[in-house]
Amino acid sequence: MEGIFGNLAIGFIEVFKLQAITMGGVTMTLPFNIIMCLIGCLLGTLIGVLPGIGPVATIAMLLPVTFNLSPIGALIMLAGIYYGAQYGGSTTAILINIPGESSSVVTCLDGYQMARQGRAGPALATAAIASFFAGCVSTLVIALFAPPLAEVALKFGPAEYTSLMVLGLVAATVLAHGSLIKAIAMVILGLLLGLVGTDVNSGVLRFAFGISELADGIGFVTVAMGMFGICEIIANLEQKEHREVFTSSVGKLMPSKEDWKRMVAPILRGTVLGSALGILPGGGALLASFASYTVEKKVSKYSHEFGTGAIEGVAGPESANNAGAQTSFIPLLTLGIPSNAVMALMIGAMMIQGIAPGPQVMTERPQLFWGMIASMWVGNLMLVILNLPLIGMWIKLLTVPYRYLYPSILLFMAIGVFSISNQPFDCFLMALFGLFGYVCVKLGCEPAPLILGFILGPLMEENLRRAMLLSRGDPWVFISPSKPISMGFIIASVVLLAIVALPSLRKKREEVFVEET
């Protein structure tokens, strides 16, 4: 226990540290990391509030910008965007019945009903309080669970890593929407696209077709921006916009005594559930909020009120999605394995900064590791401060028409992509992947599994090759009793696939995801 507080202290010192920064020719001494955290939270809330742009596209957009930042500052800002978006998303869900973020889909159900009854204020306050509480607890969870997990992971060999990646990818597909086969196919396609470029082992240029820009592989920022950013814009332009905002009826924010009483238990349950589901590979904010809503509906004595403005339906999922968003950093920080598309981008951000993600990060760069964790707590505090008093400002933003927004988003994406290598080719690829992503969506294939496969492709090939070399070509090495951890991962993946393939559960899974769309 003492070790943890010592470690958190390292983190807080790092977050509040003063640094000399040179920007635009002027050198200033500033608490740089805390400023990055604030920028991240503000941006996160902003894109969370605005429907039509998600954290994946935003983080992808900002990755090239982070080239010039210090590693810790960059990661703190990007993390802030992710959990900030969870806060912001609920505002849109409650006020205009459109989820600003996919993870706040369930908040629409009861939050919007509360707003229609003139209780938008308490609904917004409940969402903020629930998120804040969950954010604090899950920060502690990360601090508690990450070190032992990283210690175990340090002992992993190539066989264990390969199996772990298999498990991660399987879990990600199981939790994707729609058809399981299509999701797996998208993962494999992602793995294949990740192999484009120079093969590390032999130096052979693969699938480059004489295009010199492809020698280093397809930039995953490019893929992410195309398949999420461009694709989202196109999807939004399909329908004419119509928004109805309950601006006049926000009223007083403070929840009543009765509200306080009713929200405590759901927040506690949501936090526990969200923290647990966030750690699982493939988990994260989205799954956590759905699970929490289902649980609350089952256990609450007000279950008849669900769907008509029950405060439990806001408090539970809102705490769960924030807890899930934060604990999904655990597999990233300890194993170097992303559990969702945002985490895949965080891996990219670490690699841009020359940090190999994995269990060694914690021991080799304690400042970075603990600084990031401490920043999450600080960020959560900022978000409550940002969200409650500034709610009027965020609501105003909702009235900005989409036709002003998307050219700006597109411009920033194009600038970001262009700056990766200062070549027009990347922008061309981005447009191509935008088109491809749009086709995929039309064919009912989710882009998220592809991104995960894409980022893991080269890693998986390398570990697979090494494992096979060490075992002299014996494929049973992954499930031999001499490697119990690897065997466990493979068995878990098989069980997971088997469970989902069972007819009864398949139907259930479809039902769960139908509600979402």
């Binding site: 411009l411 447009a431 494929p475």
Partner: protein, 171 residues
């Protein structure tokens, strides 16, 4: 045979096509095609063995898996009823694609200011409403922001003005 799910039908075909594509480019064209054409069409990479995998090994395995999964999806499309392919909206696709290409290929010769204006105008044209005045104001605002943020503050190495203008008025 009747296709019961258009969506799955096309998705299956897409996956098979990608799978075959990666296998062929990893292994090279098969012998009999080479014989017909007279030369080796596609070179391919070394396959290696399971102990020492060559650069082609992993892509071939994955490509095979992808093609098989694609076949399963295809099979599913004639067995189980599924949704049709939703309407494809070409206008936004076309204009968004064009605008990012215009930006990319105009940036170096014409500079950030004009490239940004081109992007904003073309992409705005892909939307539902296009008002000259609005778009003009928007592009001016965006140019100012992007020059200040990206070139001045983040010092990205972008030219601001066209390269045929000797002295750039924006410093």
């Amino acid at each position: 045979m009747k296709i019961k799910s258009q969506q799955d039908w096309w998705a299956g075909l897409m996956f098979i096509a990608f799978g075959v594509f990666f296998i062929v480019f990893a292994l090279g064209t098969p012998e009999f095609i080479n014989n017909i054409v007279g030369t080796k069409l596609i070179g391919g990479y070394q396959l290696g063995s399971s102990v020492r995998m060559g650069p082609a090994y992993f892509p071939v395995v994955l490509g095979g898996m992808l093609a098989i999964l694609g076949a399963l999806v295809l099979l599913d499309s004639i067995v189980e009823k599924g949704p049709d392919v939703a309407k494809f909206h070409f206008r936004p696709v076309l204009f968004l694609g064009l605008s990012s290409l215009a930006f990319a290929y105009l940036l170096k010769p014409l500079g950030l200011v004009l490239a940004s204006v081109a992007l904003v105008f073309i992409s705005a044209y892909g939307g539902h409403e296009f008002k000259w005045k609005e778009v003009a104001i928007m592009s001016v605002a965006l140019v100012i922001v992007s020059v200040l943020v990206f070139v001045k503050a983040l010092s990205l190495p972008f030219p601001i003005c066209p390269d045929f203008i000797e002295i750039c008025p924006i410093r």
